[in-house]
């Protein structure tokens, strides 16, 4: 009964989405206020019905209703309840329903929190989001119904969730990532609404900015969690593989990073308007492309649940419609929204331009590397694969190029600045940064040029930020008063840039200084890497709720002092018989010690064991968390909460239709 309710609620939501896509858009076109005014109500209704549908799927999972196909193939009565929850989106159908749920959540959020928005704009924005909802819900209903039953032929027990996905990080990774992915649909909807209205000004950028920042922050967190999960769960200590699926989430992030900077210039200076619109279209299209690549089964990946050509074709057609449609609209309307605002070469605008060019080129190179194998395959030119060396070779120089400009950014003034002022402000930070680069890596045993460069660049970013902060507070009566005067927008930028610096340091230090050693160890054996002694104490057998495991007890000590007792496991999940590695990690701010078990080797109870020493690997994820915090902080700024003025309720100074 419950799955039928869920299915029915999804159909109702689909109908609501169609009305939302059509009626308010028509109202905006014909200036019919009543037709426009139904949009917010419909948006909330959409959320309610998709929410009911999603809740029904969750209940089916929690109740072990194996007559539902997705439950039978992705859950098991022995699966711990919390993982039954994550099993809801650990499959193709459920993850798409989550997509739809989050889309309707964002739609309703725009409807509720946009009191300052003119009704005309609001109705267009919600209509666009409704149209995206129609696309996704028809995809769900036509090709991937999560409520399909196995009647008759209900199995006695389910197939169990892929053990790789049975992990706390994976409970929140997909929702966070989707919050980001789908969040860009808001920026996209605002851009399309602006193109439809032919009105693109500072207030448009001001409405669009907080949504974009939040979406970007969620995407940052989602990617960071994915990387962290891969690190401790896949059992080989890597944290980024340039896997096509990782790239699928990384490309919208790169385009989104360009977008949030270009939006700043649009809001503050009325610049780069049509460019910003293009970036918004680009970011959301990349999100859709990511969904297509991940869900269509064209890729070999842990994320590719299904290989069903009909589904792939559907998303491809949807993608073509969205990209083609929005670019056509852009071509038709963008000339009407161009600006004639000038700026000097030495100014913050130029620096933002550098940011945009670098991030866009980075996006395109990653896109190229990701699509190259697919294109070659489609052309019948052979099955190529593009490995991490390609991505590192193009991506690392681009980011290194970014950092010098990024350090200047916060200090630079809008419109016109002078090189002399930059010299006066930043000479000391620059010198200290170089000194840091020369000396700090000496703290580690061997000096490394790459680390020196990374430290120098990060120090340049951090010192530039601190210099600018000092510049802003020094005029105040007291330090506290000065700090209080600084806006949340500024703090957001501060945190995000700080996070980027931490990320760069962490990535370079861990890539250059990590020590990885795979070897054969029997109980009683000792091995030393990076100054740590690893002693294989004993091998034990352990029983979990739905698995049995071999557990190696390994004692780690440094200079005779015990550092940690690690107990990595090799699990065999009873429902599927699938074997999985569970690494054990002693985490620290300056180093991680990582131990994982390979397989039994030889006759004497020996195992292949992976011992890793990873300095500063946490800085990367802490940096990403700082970036996300920064994104969230900007939204607290007062200027985003101004109430709609009654005069602007139905924006009058809009371009005439067809003009």
């Amino acid at each position: 009964m419950i799955p039928e309710i869920g299915h029915f609620a999804l159909i109702i939501a689909f109908c609501l989405a169609i009305i939302l896509a059509v009626v308010p858009a028509w109202g905006a076109w014909s200036r019919n206020t009543r037709a426009m005014a139904i949009a917010p109500g419909l948006a909330v209704g959409l959320l309610v019905f998709v929410g009911i549908s999603f809740a029904c799927l969750c209940i089916s999972f929690l109740q072990d209703d194996f007559s539902v196909k997705v439950v039978a193939s992705n859950s098991n009565s022995l699966l711990p309840p919390i993982y039954k929850f994550s099993a809801v989106w650990g499959n193709h159908e459920g993850s798409l329903l989550l997509w739809a749920l989050i889309l309707s959540f964002w739609t309703a959020a725009v409807a509720v929190f946009s009191s300052q928005l003119p009704l005309l704009v609001l109705s267009r924005v919600l209509s666009v989001m409704g149209a995206i909802g129609v696309g996704f819900m028809s995809f769900l209903l036509l090709t991937s119904n999560p409520f399909a039953r196995l009647l008759p032929g209900t199995p006695a027990d389910g197939n169990d969730l892929n053990p790789l996905l049975q992990d706390p990080g994976l409970i929140i990774h997909p929702p966070l990532l989707y919050m980001g992915y789908v969040g860009f649909s808001v920026a996209f909807a605002f851009a399309i609404a602006a193109l439809l209205g032919g009105r693109l000004d500072a207030s448009w950028a001001r409405w669009s900015r907080p949504w974009t920042n939040i979406a970007w922050a969620f995407l940052t967190l989602g990617i960071m969690l994915g990387s962290w999960w891969a690190y401790y769960e896949l059992g080989w200590g890597g944290w980024w593989f340039w896997d096509p699926v990782e790239n699928a989430s990384f490309m919208p992030w790169l385009a989104g990073t360009a977008l949030i900077h270009s939006l700043a210039a649009t809001e503050k200076r009325g610049l780069f308007k049509s460019w910003t619109v293009l970036l918004a279209i680009f970011a959301f299209s990349l999100s859709l492309l990511g969904t297509f690549m991940v869900r269509s089964g064209v890729l070999t990946s842990v994320h590719a649940f299904a290989t069903d050509p009909a589904r792939g074709l559907f998303i491809l057609v949807f993608l073509a419609l969205v990209v083609g449609g929005s670019l056509t609209l852009y071509a038709l309307r963008a000339p009407a929204v161009t600006s004639r605002v000038s700026f000097e070469w030495v100014s913050r605008e130029s620096l933002i331009l550098c940011n945009n060019v670098i991030f866009l080129v980075a996006t395109i190179t990653v896109l190229f590397g990701t699509l190259f194998p697919l294109i070659m395959d489609a052309l019948g030119a052979g099955k190529y694969s593009v490995g991490p060396p390609y991505f590192n070779a193009v991506f690392v120089p681009l980011m290194a190029l970014l950092a010098p400009f990024m350090g200047l950014g916060p200090t630079a003034r809008w419109k016109k600045d002078s090189v002399r002022r930059w010299q006066a402000e930043l000479a000391i930070p620059a010198i200290v940064a170089v000194l840091c680069g020369l000396t700090l890596p000496l703290l580690h045993a061997d000096y490394n040029l790459w680390v020196a460069l990374a430290v120098a660049l990060s120090a340049w970013l951090v010192l530039g930020l601190l210099r600018d902060l000092w510049y802003r507070v020094r005029g105040a009566a007291s330090l506290g008063a000065g700090l209080r005067r600084i806006t949340p927008s500024y703090w957001g930028m501060f945190l995000a840039h700080l996070g980027f610096a931490a990320c760069v340091t962490g990535i370079v230090a861990t890539s250059q200084f990590n020590v990885e050693h795979d070897l054969k160890m029997a109980p009683g054996d000792t091995e030393t890497i990076a100054g740590y002694q690893f002693r294989f104490v004993e091998l034990a057998s352990v029983r979990g709720p739905n698995f049995i495991a071999d557990e190696a007890r390994i004692e780690v000590s440094q200079d005779g002092r015990l550092v940690a007792n690690l107990a990595p496991q090799k699990r065999r999940y009873t429902a599927t018989g699938q074997v999985m590695t569970e690494a054990d990690i002693d985490a620290g701010l300056f180093r991680d010690i990582y131990v994982a078990m390979g397989e039994p080797v030889g006759q004497d109870g020996a195992w292949a064991v992976r011992l890793h020493y990873k300095p500063m690997v946490r800085w990367m994820w802490l940096g990403a968390i700082l970036m996300a915090l920064g994104g969230f902080t900007t939204v607290l700024d007062k200027r985003y909460r101004r109430v709609r003025s009654p005069v602007g309720a139905l924006a009058g100074n809009e371009a005439v239709h067809g003009a």
Partner: protein
């Protein structure tokens, strides 16, 4: 020239120069870092280059996995049931690697036609087959258990 136009011209020049530099970098990086997939039959027929990075995928032949007793060296045979390729690898194999399962190995062929692998990938869950392996089997005309279709 109008100052805004002039600025735009410089802007376009800058973007063009920068993108060409990036495109050059991409081509350079790509030339050394892509590798092509070969089914075992192609390798056996000598279609795969020796000493170049390639990938070979197929099913791991039953009773072919041999572990060394004192190191992590391992030898196994990949098959598409028409031809076989011997693979040597040193290191830890993925969890879902096993005899009678699909796997993809990347590395270089040596003069004896043995693939010296630097990486071995297996499928990541029970019901999933790497697309390249499925394709290789499609070409050889056998199913994943070795029965002729």
């Amino acid at each position: 020239m109008h100052p805004i136009r002039k600025q735009r011209l410089y802007l376009v020049l800058f973007v063009v120069l920068f993108s060409s530099a990036a495109a050059g970098l991409v081509m350079y990086a790509l030339s050394g870092n892509i590798n092509l997939f070969f089914p075992p039959t192609d390798v056996a027929e000598g279609k795969a280059p020796v000493g170049q990075p390639i990938r070979v995928g197929g099913m791991v032949l039953d009773n072919s996995v041999q572990r060394s007793n004192d190191s992590l060296a391992v030898t196994f045979v990949l098959t598409d049931f028409k031809s076989n390729v011997t693979v040597v690898y040193e290191g830890i194999l993925p969890d879902l690697f096993g005899e009678g399962q699909g796997a993809v190995a990347s590395g270089k062929l040596n003069d004896d036609g043995v693939l010296v692998a630097s990486e071995v990938l297996a499928k990541h869950d029970e019901n999933y087959m790497p697309p390249e392996v499925a394709d290789a089997l499609e070409q050889s005309g056998f199913d994943h258990k070795g029965n002729a279709k």
